[in-house]
Subunit: 329 residues, 2 copies
């Protein structure tokens, strides 16, 4: 690392943008942004810390940058919003290769650009560990924002894509096993469901939404708590890659646990009104979206029930990833 | 550190707010905020890393929290804006006392509350080092925003308060010397010039503004570069605490260098049109603000000239704090 000022100059070039809503980008005390006058703003921040959220030997710099932003876009998607601008705070150890940092930022910029976003500000500081802390501002019309709290008894629970692959990849990487290529791709290149989130945000049949970052049961339990309801999930209905179960067996990983507790899926979980479910499915098909019903919302007193392939109560451990206790019951 | 979820619960309580612009605070995938329809948004992020920006043995947890946010508010003030909401991303080593983290957050909240702000979101993650990364959204009317680029030849250069004390305190702390109490106070409890920034933002006579975080010469040179002008500063005009020079001599610190290169002052530096300077001074007095003229804007070809007490060119080293090279020429 030569000089903060020189690095900032390089990053400023990488993060160049041409958006008429940005009156002033990187280079002054603040960025100046003109928010949409009719929309609400969605605000989220996520950190991405080396050796906690990623390892350089597993993930290329550019992929790490994409992933660092993807985590945020998944949060914006989960509220039904469109991402607009981001600010990136980096901590950089003294001996870090500047080119690695620039590649990381090119990753951030490339995913941002894909969704029409601008990186408008940032900060770099020395530290013992590389980390990024990205704040994203999104926007949505007030009546198109989905919260965790809207699920009602009888609603159908959906997910927006196959689950479990990122956890399988992580398990293989941590245990020096061969990683199935499709699992490694899902782990290293998550595609936040921004398009799906905008589609779902616009549908009145959708009553609640969350993104799956900490594992299906963990994230579903946030919805249940906020909505004061319970849920019944059917293991056999959770969409998976065709080789998922076989790959898990090969790796010595319990596929049910991986599916229920594994994190980093970055798919959406949402609930749809029972009475509006037919209409929802028609709209879903008309717009060529694919979503999978995995269960139903039940009374809070029933808690969170998981049914195995035979329709019996699945008795596996419930919990979700916790940064301080790996499994938190 | 027991559990991420329990800590988040405690922090959620600390950061509670009651602002009708906040449709959803901490606890969903994103916060939902209604921006002012007529105003532009000011966006800034700053990090505050343990053992880089502060040390626990020098700065109480609550003071550290205040300081972490103050750095951001100083940026908002420098554009003439009013801070509105913030998001706080923390990295926390496993062995950190939760109470320390809560005290830190109480510091953030207390300064935010002072300016009518709300902490609407955040993130916590494990890491080797404690750090905070705070993003602040402020607001200002379009024609009241001040940039670095507006200074013109002939403009008078002002600062908003005495400089140098934080650097003196840091020097004493680093060298195990007795720290003058007023210097320690300036170091540990910076008061961002939000009120002053709003006052100055509203004045058409003010042509450019920046906050002093990296040292007078370093920050002034940003204004000069953005405005394509030079400057002449008079050392004898820079406001200082009455004991500053004597305290520097006692500590064995070159007071001129401390004044010109020392960082963390968090005062404002701004330029005022020569023709509007009388009117500016009248308004300043009428509103009981105190600002000190320290020099004038000159032609770019003259560069940055510092005159010593005898009116001769001061030949001290020019440079400013750089996180990767302590002094950057």
């Amino acid at each position: 690392m030569h000089s903060e000022f020189l690095l900032i100059k390089r990053l400023q070039k990488i993060f160049s943008n041409a958006d008429s809503s940005i009156l002033c980008g990187i280079g002054d005390d603040c960025a100046v942004y003109k928010p949409h006058p009719d929309k609400q703003e969605l605000l989220t921040v996520d950190s991405f810390v080396e050796d906690v959220h990623f390892k350089r030997k597993w993930t290329h710099a550019r992929q790490a940058g994409v992933k660092a932003l993807a985590v945020n876009l998944s949060d914006i998607a989960a509220m039904g919003g469109k991402p607009r601008v981001a600010l990136v705070s980096l901590t950089i150890p003294q001996d870090t290769d500047e080119n690695w940092v620039c590649q990381f930022c090119r990753g951030v910029q490339s995913l941002g650009k894909k969704w029409g976003m601008s990186i408008v500000g940032g900060n770099i500081s020395r530290a013992a560990q590389f980390s990024s802390h990205i704040t994203v501002l999104g926007e949505a019309l007030k009546n198109k924002i989905k919260y965790r709290k809207g699920a009602r008894v009888g609603d159908v629970i959906y997910v927006s894509g196959p689950l479990g692959l990122p956890h399988l990849a992580l398990y293989c990487l941590e245990n020096n096993l061969r990683v199935p290529p499709h699992a490694l791709l899902a782990f290293n290149s998550p595609a936040p469901c921004v398009k799906e989130g905008l589609f779902l945000g616009a549908l009145p049949q959708v009553t609640s939404m969350i993104d799956l970052s900490d594992g299906l049961l963990g994230d579903l339990s946030h919805v249940l708590k906020a909505s004061k309801v319970g849920a019944q999930i059917e293991l056999s209905k959770i969409p998976v890659h065709k080789d998922f179960q076989a790959d898990c067996v090969k790796a010595g990983l319990d596929w049910r646990q991986a599916l229920l507790l594994g994190g980093e899926d970055y798919k959406l979980l949402f609930t749809v009104k029972a009475l509006g479910n037919d209409l929802f499915q028609k709209k879903m098909n008309r717009h060529s979206h694919a979503f999978w019903p995995v269960g139903v919302v039940v009374n809070a007193s029933k808690g969170l029930i998981v049914l195995d392939e035979e329709g019996n109560n699945y008795q596996g451990v419930h919990g979700s990833f916790d940064h301080f206790n790996t499994v938190h019951s």
